[in-house]
Symmetry: C2
Subunit: 465 residues, 2 copies
Amino acid sequence: MTVVAPVRTGNARLFDELRARFGERFSTAAAVREHHGKDASYHELVPPDAVLYARTTAEVAEAVRLCAAAKVPVIAFGSGTGLEGNVAATYGGLCIDLSQMNRILRVSVDDLDCTVEAGVTRKQLNQHLRDTGLFFPIDPGADASLGGMAATRASGTNAVRYGTMRENVLSLTAVLADGRVIRTAHRARKSAAGYDLTRLFVGSEGTLGVITEVSLRLYPIPEAIRAAVCAFPTIEAAVATVVATIQAGVPVARIELIDRVSMDAVNRYSKLGYAVAPTLFFEFHGSAAGVAEQVETVGPLAAENGGGEFRWAESTEARNKLWQARHDVYFAALALRPGATVWWTDVCVPISRLPQCIAETTADIAQSGLLAPIVGHVGDGNFHVGFVLDPGQPDEFTAAKAVNARMVARALALDGTCTGEHGIGQGKMDFLIAEHGEAVSVMRAVKRALDPDNIMNPGKILRMN
Amino acid sequence: MTVVAPVRTGNARLFDELRARFGERFSTAAAVREHHGKDASYHELVPPDAVLYARTTAEVAEAVRLCAAAKVPVIAFGSGTGLEGNVAATYGGLCIDLSQMNRILRVSVDDLDCTVEAGVTRKQLNQHLRDTGLFFPIDPGADASLGGMAATRASGTNAVRYGTMRENVLSLTAVLADGRVIRTAHRARKSAAGYDLTRLFVGSEGTLGVITEVSLRLYPIPEAIRAAVCAFPTIEAAVATVVATIQAGVPVARIELIDRVSMDAVNRYSKLGYAVAPTLFFEFHGSAAGVAEQVETVGPLAAENGGGEFRWAESTEARNKLWQARHDVYFAALALRPGATVWWTDVCVPISRLPQCIAETTADIAQSGLLAPIVGHVGDGNFHVGFVLDPGQPDEFTAAKAVNARMVARALALDGTCTGEHGIGQGKMDFLIAEHGEAVSVMRAVKRALDPDNIMNPGKILRMN
């Protein structure tokens, strides 16, 4: 673990101003700084020089104005559940923690939308919505903040049916690098009015501004929800079933791949008795008849590929337990090897290329000798590899880095992307260039135009010098 | 009609170069220039100084490089079906006509996507797809080019179910203001890799670059499609049915409002015998059982609001005739008043605000004494007013301008947008400022960063000086 660097003397006056203005909500305590210098990834802890717990957009704007005057970096912090080192304070500076901005500002049942502060988490929102008949479907697993999910263009298990944050953010409020505040759109479902600033900020990882409020689409809770687990003889057979399901146009809500290693880990960690085999977790949403129809279509597709019986999670509790187990793959992987750390990475390819991409990646992992479960939101063509590594073995990290680089190169060659949902952060900046080529210069031009002094989360997504 | 301005002498050397390079595909003929200086709107003809019929992305890049060196404006031209004067050559310059870039480059049935050159029209694409079992749903009425639809962030009748160009463009190729070529994304269904340049160019109306290729999502043709027409006693009753349908979460494919005036016009123009009353046109997509379920939900909602019998268009031919009649509202409105021109405008509001917005707009039109049918993609909260005006009566234009301004102000006050799908062009630049406020300065910063000399379709969306 990195030693916490001392507060830079050049920031002393700025920090005096922030302390005078915000009192105890401004902190330079080592423990607070350390908590904010690392996310849930393998990336190194790099603490900010100070942390501010902001409570309003106006406070964020005030803090950013002060930092801009001093040319001190600003890093927005939501729940710390990122996976590419997006919050590490590479160049020091002020971390603005948004977790106290956790008010749900407005829910419109009639318009199927809501507005929340950036620190509201997805579980908090769904808890709040429980009596309205509506829900917010985007579910990356972790109980991430909605501001962070917007900033990372997150998605997760339900994206195959409901889309990602790209499709589900109607509008957002952002504090720009000079402290100005903008709202990117009104609440209309569609608009042809000017450049799509909402989509520009979704996925910008705090490098263009701090997202402080988000307006989101909501959906009626389906009349019927059914979830099932189905084991396959090989990972290829499972993936072939996914491809056939998507190509048949079945509006499946979730279709998740868990490989053999992960199923073993999940069974142990979550005390379940599923077959230790490549497995698909399904969820179907719709009317009772609509769900029955989907099941009737997918069942034979699975059987054709050698899939076993569908094991149904009939009650809401059983369904929740099933998905909790899926989300706990992260912890289950950790538990496979005491003292280990897990380096999660993800790619996404067109669905027809998924079998090749997974097959070649599986072979590469086997060859590397690493322990690295594969799970994925395979309906989108998106899958994850979790390298379970011993922090004391640098050779393992070197091997993981090589497998990761080959997996990304493979995904790009198959017309895919270097990350489906984790973002670029500090971990994939070279891969961004490999993927986008000349277009990266356009991203840089946009960044320079909106943040000429490069104070907004510097060292993430783009190298500016 | 404006007199065609002479070719500017400052362009003579540039035009010599273009002529030498492109031969007969470069033209300064008056008739060619006039054809390219006007779209389907009320906006004045302003011809470009010259027109180039480009055939490849490389040719577009070459032409743009030459124009950039001479600081001469570049205007992309697709099908000329825009509605806000988006192609008028406000500052002269070179119009690049993309209609000869009409190759369908790739269709992947397995991935449900395709790549087309910008000049391919939506009908051409669907004709090409007819044996694949797939279709491209976005349907703005006119047989627009797909590059133009991307540039305008177009949508239309199917958007309530399938989204707009925002959701359906996977990636695009664009020529930047200095002639560099970028591809904005690979083909993965989702990506968290860097800024969303695809969405930045979708809706940019040629002001950030020339879109030359577009990759699009495709959809399986539904197993069952049923379309029906239902008349209502009042426009309020029809709109209430729409709101109830959307709030019930029915995945209706099309739900279109045609007001009394328009129904009368449509009956006459398309020789139909529908009731002359506010009417909804519905289309339901899904499995046979799914469509039946949707109909069973919507029928009672219509009946509760005093709707009449559903008149079903049972055959494909009858259905096509129904939608052709809907799309012919444009011509039907023109036919209401020989020699007239129609000024179409549109706004979009959250669905719960739609009844108020339409009711107040209807009253305002009545008060104005203008003939102005209302039709709309009401499932999105989007509707259109078509002012049927006598070109010889400037007072009518003044009155229309005032009604339009009040309608936009009303939509903005209801948290809506000044345009749901027509774009800003030259007609709504002030409304863009009213809608977005400080955020317009961010759009300007992006424009300056990508087009510092303001040569890409200047005078549209943003005033840069």
